[in-house]
């Protein structure tokens, strides 16, 4: 609609191959940008370094998630079998010596809790699910899940300037440079 105000999201540029994307990323990293991303149909190994990104912190979440699982299983089994309701079955002990029989369930709950932490930790870190994104307004961006390689630099980056950023993208080999706008 003509009455909607638009806000600039940033510039989107296409690169011809994974190698071109990689080299472009190194240059943008060196130019000091922070709010930008490379888009590709598959994970490009080594691009983290070219973008100056740190290793994902997800393993730490998962470590503590897994430990919670182990503790939950132990607490559940020990409390019910030894503390609250000791029942002698097959003449197995009802004291601390019965703990080895809890190992399989402690193992399974460690894995289960870790798995859920991976799922929800990942969704938190990548800030999904979300229903829409300004980049989806771009027609060419649809190729990013097929065979296109893109770099998008956001307008909220302090280094962003309307002309300078476009020239930078053109200089490092970006084609089809497009100003992406979102509806306010």
């Amino acid at each position: 609609m003509s009455t909607t105000r638009k806000r600039v999201y940033g510039y989107l540029a296409e690169f011809k191959s994974a190698s071109a994307l990689y080299k472009g990323a190194e240059k943008i990293r060196d130019a000091g940008f922070r709010k930008w991303d490379c888009y590709s149909p598959y994970p490009i190994h080594g691009l983290d370094g070219a973008m100056g990104m740190k290793r994902s912190i997800l393993p730490w979440f998962v470590f503590f998630g897994g430990m919670t699982g182990t503790a939950t299983a132990f607490a559940l089994a020990y409390t019910t079998q030894v503390v609250i309701y000791p029942t002698v079955v097959q003449s197995k002990p009802v004291n601390i010596f019965t703990v080895p029989a809890f190992f399989p369930i402690m193992f399974e709950l460690t894995i289960l809790f870790s798995g859920f932490t991976v799922l929800f930790g990942l969704l938190g870190l990548i800030q999904l699910p979300r229903l829409n994104h300004p980049l989806f307004a771009s027609d060419q961006f649809r190729k990013a899940t097929d065979d296109g390689f893109f770099i998008a630099i956001e307008a909220r980056d302090p280094k962003f300037t309307p002309n300078g950023t476009r020239d930078l993208l053109a200089e490092i080999g970006g084609a089809n440079i497009e100003l992406v706008e979102e509806e306010d």
């Binding site: 071109a20 994902s56 997800l58 309701y85 894995i111 859920f116 699910p129 899940t145």
Partner: protein
């Protein structure tokens, strides 16, 4: 096969090492777009007539066998499963172990082969994981209804109930509940997370409409930015690392159901590794049974190549031989133990009224895969299909032999019975085969059956240094060797 050799430059030892060129995983030099088109085409185009020809009977069999069979069971009682016989664990636990075993190949392909960097897995992992999910669904039906009053199946969950009685956490049967439900949940998470980027691919190809909205919701708004990929790859690695011990634990725990009892023929320490090897063996046979026809119907020969099939045939040969070793070791240990009950249990298996089941197990599982020693057999799809079917049947007989022949001769001669399944039991089992096929066909119809993103990743030009390498006359062989040298010297 491709065996062009180049000579690498001098490495740290000063010896020239010949570098074998790797066989390509994707044939015919296909482009990214071709891969997207071909895989998405499977679910975007009209399904071939054969799809309907398979789906309608499968769905009907599932409806009558599982739907009808279980309705009859619930409305009448578990007696219709022939459980008045002493062999309580007869058919249903055989089927449970059979289906659970089928699932293991999926997790093995997706997790263990991922950790060991076997890139050929990318073409088959999605379908194999789907198979895992569907096999575990089929497996779950049997113990759930076997408990008798299925509406009390929630007693298996560790929640306080009106009788204030907690589950026995020392029992392998409860371990099994935890192992199987964890296995299902983790497999589902692994399968779904692996599919998110591909669902986004389909979303971006859809015309606006209900389909686009649904694929959009399930792809979670995936954009494929490297800030997402970086965390995503870590998540995938973590799930693979978690699934690897999990898959080994699940069938080990299933085998504890038997091994921790004091029943002759069951009380053996070889059971966990023997069950795990058998599960992988049976699972790979099922992957081949399904993928070889699917690859033809949908024209996926360039993605699922003869190399993939060859690798799977080799794994079947290996695990089949491990299973054969376990069968013989069981016999040896029974003999060496000097325990008359143990010896009698195995004599009964081999020469008792179930001799035919034992013979079927031995010949189908141990002898039939031996043809894969020969390259000609690994390259002939008919031989592969026949062996895969033999293994499917053989692995079912293995579970039948373990469970039914053992329970038919327990300690009290008054309990001695020969077991045969009731009609309803048979119907339910056939129903689960229909259910499995129907679910798999639905999967082909609605979800990407090959991992699009990972297959693209295996192409040579996906390496960010590919263009640099192409500029050299030797296509990067020198650089690769220099890199290897750097790796060695940095240690």
């Amino acid at each position: 096969m491709a065996s062009t050799t180049h000579t690498a430059p001098e490495t740290h030892t000063g010896v020239k090492i010949p570098v074998l060129e790797r066989e390509k995983l994707i044939l015919s030099g296909r482009s990214y777009n071709w891969i997207t088109e071909r895989i998405c085409g499977v679910l975007e185009n009209r399904q071939p007539f054969l799809w309907w020809l398979l789906f309608i009977p499968s769905a009907l069999i599932a409806l009558i066998g599982v739907g009808g069979g279980l309705t009859y069971l619930v409305s009448t009682g578990v007696g219709v499963w022939g459980m008045s016989n002493r062999v309580f664990w007869g058919f249903d636990i055989t089927n449970f172990v059979f289906w659970i075993g089928i699932g293991h190949a999926g997790t093995l392909i997706s997790a263990v082969l991922f950790l060991t960097r076997q890139n050929w897995r990318t073409s088959i992992n999605r379908a194999a994981e789907a198979m895992t999910i569907f096999a575990v669904i089929c497996a779950g039906i049997f113990p759930a209804f076997h408990v008798g009053r299925v509406w009390f199946a929630w007693f298996l969950a560790p929640v306080p109930n009106a009788n204030a009685i907690w589950q026995n956490f020392k029992s392998p049967l409860l371990w099994d509940v935890f192992a199987v439900s964890t296995y299902f949940t983790i497999s589902l998470i692994f399968w779904y997370l692996g599919m998110v980027p591909d669902l986004a691919t389909i979303r971006d190809r859809c015309k606006p409409g209900i389909r686009k909205i649904l694929y959009g919701i399930f792809s979670l708004g995936w954009r494929g930015g490297n800030r997402q990929w970086s965390h995503y790859e870590m998540a995938y690695l973590l799930l693979a690392a978690l699934s690897t011990p999990l898959v080994l634990s699940v069938h080990s725990v299933v085998s504890f159901d038997f091994a921790t009892s004091v029943v002759p023929g069951w009380h053996t320490t070889i059971f966990p590794p023997y069950f795990v090897a058998g599960a992988i063996f049976g699972g790979f046979a099922m992957v081949l049974t399904i993928m070889v026809p699917a690859r033809f119907i949908y024209g996926l020969q360039d993605l699922i190549t003869m190399k993939h099939i060859d690798n799977m045939a080799k794994i079947i040969l290996l695990t089949g031989t491990i299973v054969g070793y376990a069968y013989l070791m069981e016999l040896f240990v029974a003999f060496y133990s000097g325990a008359i009950y143990e010896m009698d249990a195995f004599k009964f298996r081999i020469a008792g009224p179930y001799w035919w089941a034992y013979a079927a197990m031995m010949s189908l599982n141990v002898l039939s895969p031996q043809v894969f020693w020969f390259k000609a057999c690994r390259e002939n799809l008919w031989v592969i299909m026949v062996v895969a079917m033999c293994v499917n049947v053989g692995m079912w007989f293995e579970r039948f032999v373990i469970i039914c022949t053992t329970l038919a001769r327990m300690f009290l001669p008054g309990d001695w019975k020969t077991y045969s399944p009731s009609g309803v039991e048979l119907m339910t089992f056939v129903g689960t085969i229909g259910l499995f096929l129907a679910l798999f066909l639905m999967f082909l119809r609605f979800l990407p059956c090959i991992n699009i993103a990972e297959v693209k990743w295996t192409l040579l030009e996906s390496d960010p240094h590919h263009d640099d390498l192409q500029e050299h006359a030797d296509h990067g062989v020198v650089i690769e060797a220099a890199y290897q040298k750097e790796l060695v010297s940095s240690k």
